[in-house]
């Protein structure tokens, strides 16, 4: 299978002097469900945000969907970004707009400014947005303001927004960290479905090993801005776990 993501010797030094990524090398094949593990501050979020240039990397190369992310600007960058859906820990929806409008914003990378302020006139977009809401089981909430939805529902709206982009890659930055265990599993199930059914490549940072084992096809563990482990989820035993999370860590089960 093709390599859809290639990262070579990626460094990121923040303005404050924090060296968040120290020479990251990572290749992801199309169709993989790649889990990023690691403590808070290990560089997971920075890595994910460098991949679609929400953060500028300091040095190194990133290729996603045949696009050179590091050197992309303007229109080229937006073309790369629209193929990459992103899910956030805090959902990052526009809270006082409806679920439907939030889903429609997923289309912004494909349409002109004039088109984007007259979405209601474009039947095809509306239909697609409703279909995507239906897919995450929220059709009846289409006209509700997002701030009136529960955490799990909001994250599903965010997934529908990403789907609207018809992406090849989905980056998920701790998508379930602010959800309760049951909701967390249902959100992960949707991501798993996108991976299996729609053949989307998913890169997802997580804290729960049980979820990683259930959905991941591959695990990459980060520590202090470096990759310390790469392999299948099954390969992570107690020893490996303590290597990643430190000696005092205990694995927490989530069912």
């Amino acid at each position: 299978m093709n390599n859809i993501i290639e990262i070579k010797d990626l460094h990121k030094v923040y303005a404050g002097g924090t060296h968040a990524l120290k020479g990251m090398n990572l290749t992801v094949k199309e169709g993989e469900f790649c889990i990023l593990l690691g403590l808070s501050g290990s560089g997971k979020s920075t890595l994910l945000r460098c991949m679609n240039k929400l953060i500028d990397s300091t040095s190194g190369e990133i290729y996603i969907c045949d696009g050179d992310v590091v050197n992309a600007t303007g229109r080229t960058l937006r073309r790369i970004r629209r193929q990459i859906g992103m899910i956030f820990q805090q959902f990052n929806l526009i809270k006082n707009l409806t679920a439907l409008t939030n889903v429609l914003t997923g289309k912004l990378g494909y349409v002109s400014l004039g088109h984007s302020v007259t979405f209601a006139q474009h039947k095809a977009d509306m239909k697609l947005a409703l279909e995507n809401l239906n897919r995450v089981g929220l059709l009846e909430f289409a006209d509700k303001k997002v701030k009136n939805l529960s955490g799990g529902q909001q994250q599903r709206v965010a997934i529908a927004r990403a789907l609207m982009q018809n992406p090849r890659v989905i980056l998920a930055d701790e998508p379930v960290a602010s959800l309760d265990p049951a909701t967390a599993d249902s959100v992960m199930r949707y991501l798993g479905e996108l991976n299996k059914k729609d053949k989307m490549t998913v890169i997802c940072s997580l804290h729960f090993l049980s979820l990683a084992r259930k959905y991941g096809t591959r695990v990459v563990a980060l520590k202090d801005g470096k990759i310390v482990f790469e392999g299948t989820p099954k390969e992570i035993d107690e020893k490996k776990f303590k290597e990643i999370y430190g000696e005092e860590a205990e694995e927490v089960e989530i069912k």
Binding site: I80, I84, F88, N92, L97, L108, L113, V117, R161
Partner: protein, 402 residues
Amino acid sequence: MKNNKLKSIIQAFFTDLLFWIYMFGCTYFLIHCWFEIELTNIHILVAALVFTLVFLFVGMSLGRKIFSPTKLTELKWKKTFWGWTIVFLLIITFVVGWNLVEVNPYKFFTQFKNARGISSGIFDPSIIGYKLTEKSFEELRENDVPLVVLEKLESIKNKSHTTKKVFLLSIKKKLDVNELSEYKSSIFEYAQKNSNMLNRALTALAETIFLALLATIFAIPFAFVLSFFAARNLMPKTFSGNIVYVVVRTIATIFRSIEAIVWAIIFSVWVGIGPFAGMLALMIHSIAALTKLYSEQIENIDEGPVEAIKATGANTLQVWIFAVIPQIISPYLAFTIYRWDINVRMATIVGFVGGGGIGLLLLQNQQLLRWHNVGVIIWLIAAVVWIMDMTSAKVRAKLVEM
């Protein structure tokens, strides 16, 4: 390191210099007031310079203390020379202030009688005016008021009285007690009543409210666009981005620091005295103030949605429309209503210097010493400000919930 030391010495030097100039300036002012001794600015400057240099070398510099890492609260001020100098500084500041402001408690407590006119106006505003016209006399005659009484009243025929009390005083002077008690009610009944002043004040008040409203409305589009360029988080951190940010911010600050009253003076010369000049003055000031309030609102938005919309591949304008505007629209409305509220209050003051509206009417009546008319105006202004204050607070509270 060496650079830093030099910098701190320069800072200390200028702090000390300013301090000593101030000290000698104040002392000289007092000596000049009390003993009439003449000195020139040069004398003070030289004395201050000498003191600064001496204290800097002796190591007792105030500037050094301020810019040193030790906290001022940790210094034992009672035991140091500087502690006592600062106490002296505070005392001399107070004394000079008292002299400059010409504080005079004696006047305050003994000269209230001067304000009797205006206070009687406030407590007896000219809501309804009274006048005995030809017609009033005819009607009084038909209602069996004796000719003797009418003749006595002849001298105040067609004379306007601003309030009931003033009218009553006027009749009292003309009639004796019995006549007064018998015919007072019919005289009041047939006197011609008018509410000219109230009507004029209400018209002027409407003018003021609408000029404040228009000033606010015209300011909105300008401030709305400018606020995006004055928001730190939206402007790219490139050279040109910084330039735009700094220029917009600086202009807004300068325009805001020039009071609306100054703008009103400029515009009353430019377009002539009247509400239009007042509107322009308030508009300029509102643009600057709203730009600042709006842009601070933008700087406080949740960055999450901005990040998410960027990640979909949206361009800058799309990010503004979908991630920024929905977050700021209700605080913007709240600030705009607040600004209208402020503008109504400012419009009164602006009217004094040619901005039209109720301020102008107030000025005219005050200069003609028509205190009962002034009373009407003052009450109307107070009522409007009070009502606007309450409603705008209610509406704003609702908007914030949105």
